[in-house]
Symmetry: C2
Subunit: 341 residues, 2 copies
DNA sequence: TTGTAAGCGTTATCAT
DNA sequence: ATGATAACGCTTACAA
């Protein structure tokens, strides 16, 4: 199809090496020669064969975004669209290619791991939404695959970029407290995920700071899906909360629906805060007060960190990169001051 | 890192060729030898180097999903999440890898095209959401890149998988007609996309079939974004429609918000139908009546078609694959019978 | 500054 | 049934 180095070389009356040097911008080429070679390249429509190049350089310029099967159901969550967009754009900007790896079926998870990670196609990976009991990150560490985790991970060797989940959750609950709420419930994210733990932690910190006792009847663990929000509401209602902090917008939307069905109005009867600020958050009625995290940015930064790790000469003493991006409270219509009733 | 064929060969006391034959399941290997080789493979933890393999086979087992820059803003649309999920799963099932190519910045579109498509990394591509004036598909045809389009494309050589947009739109409008509506407006999708044209066409067919005159004041072109739905409403209201058919759910949600702000109630004052059945459609208030398309399935089928094209010996007379999947009307709460007032 | 030649890890064509 | 050996298209010492 496309001509090879050899043919370009012939066209320019030089050797393969010289053409290679020109393509790779090596300094030691006479200006006049360089020009002649470029002309031949343009004339012939030459495109370097990246596969051949990879074989010798051991670099593919491909990184993967890996999402383990445990969250595949979450893939309808706009979170991933935004994350992918951030990662893709940054890859583009750095002339890298992005491979998408969803570990779908649990059954052949191992087979997939082998195929994807030992294929030789990957320079590195960005890993999103793992749970603490998932063997993915331990496996990656064991196999010395360069990777960056989205969301903190309790191991010194793991590079990660995270958002301030604790602070975000605390802001949300403080907002409710300021509105006079005292019986504030939370629907936590999965406690097998650090984000789930951290948001619960922020909830607790906010209450403790105001000396509001923590009532276990007001805490239910969800799984970041919409149905789990609905289910949680029914567990929570007997404890008579006046406000609910849901650890994700998707769950908050489940809450909204369930409350509507139960004949309760938001925010008149119950106030509600979410987390994420996905596009739907502003579309629902009432528009959702929530904690915004810069999802696209997270993806972008994660890729940047990964590339910097890939660039590093591995001999240096390895510093672990840990970035925590800020969150922000977005006040909309789903909270009101507590009624005096 | 990983051992090479050579080392496995030594370990099994055979030649490279024999190991290669075993790996690739070639018939002519003595059972006893085969076993010995497999043992050596397992012992050494050998993983074939796919890059080296690709260099000689000219196959990478990588296909790309390409989304041209024109729709990058749409990437927050759940449509793409679902599409990606369908494509990814089918890739996994067939041991293919998926590369994601978003042509973001218009500026270096050409550079990206070259880099992505002539890299040598791709066996083929699935192309989503192109507009008719986008040079992408013509370029792919010109460069003889095997590809499948999501959405029909008016060229005999283009394989595509589409949904029945015309039929879906017709169903939506017929539903409104059955409810007694006569002044039915539509917010069309971009007419530079075949889906936009087809849905508008279905709208018109439904009216014509019932001899309802087509009023240009009741037709506005949108661009599948939420704001465009809001803008369209304001252009439409002077024509006093009793119902609106929006060519996408995202636009319908924009309509919902705009109507709310204008003090109009759905469905009491105005009925509304969308298209797509994205998850949000059932989350908004009132839940949106819409036309469901099997998005995930589309992605899955597109990959299957692509792989079958890749498998084909190119010498055969090329039959173009064209699949059209059915759509389905999902009735929820956003339509009511026309008031007699 | 440029060219020669070795080598990256496979597959595939021959012999044997 | 198995083993040499030549590609595949590139990068990169090393020579000149």
């Amino acid at each position: 199809m496309s001509p090879t180095l050899e043919e370009v070389a012939r066209l320019a009356s030089v050797s393969r090496s010289t053409v290679s040097r020109v393509i790779n911008d090596h300094p030691n080429v006479r200006a006049e020669t360089r020009e002649r070679v470029w002309k031949a390249i343009r004339q012939s429509g030459y495109q370097p064969n990246v596969v051949a190049r990879s074989l010798v350089t051991n670099r593919t310029q491909i990184i993967s975004v890996i999402i383990p099967e445990s969250v595949t159901t979450l893939f309808t969550d706009p979170f991933f669209s935004l994350l992918l967009r951030g990662t893709t754009e940054t890859c583009n900007a750095h002339q890298y290619h992005l491979m998408l790896s969803l570990f779908t079926a649990k059954a052949d998870r191992h087979e997939m791991y082998q195929r994807v990670l030992h294929s030789g196609y990957l320079d590195g990976a960005v890993v999103a939404s793992t749970t603490l009991d998932d063997p993915l990150i331990p496996d990656l560490l064991h196999d010395h695959v360069p990777f960056v985790s989205i969301g903190r991970y309790p191991d010194d060797r793991v590079h990660y970029v995270d958002v301030d989940n604790v602070g975000g959750a605390r802001m949300a609950v403080e907002h409710l407290i300021r509105l006079g709420h005292r019986r504030i419930a939370t629907i936590a994210g999965p406690l097998s995920m650090t984000s789930g733990q951290d948001r619960l932690n922020g909830y607790q910190q906010a209450l403790e700071a105001r000396r509001i006792p923590i009532d276990d009847a007001l805490i239910v663990e969800g799984d970041y899906t919409e149905p789990s929000g609905g289910v949680a509401v029914h567990q929570l209602l007997p404890a008579e909360p006046t406000a609910i902090f849901a650890a994700s917008d998707i769950m908050a939307i489940g809450v909204l629906k369930a409350l509507r069905e139960a004949g309760l109005r938001v925010p008149q009867d119950i106030s509600l805060v979410g987390f994420d600020d996905i596009p739907t958050a502003s579309a629902v009625e009432p528009a959702l007060t929530t904690v915004r995290q810069p999802i696209e940015r997270i993806g972008s930064v994660a890729v940047e960190v990964l590339l910097s790790v890939l660039e590093d000469t591995p001999s240096e003493n390895p510093t672990t990169h840990r970035l925590v991006l800020p969150t922000e409270l977005v006040i909309r219509a789903s909270c009101s001051a507590v009624s005096n009733g």
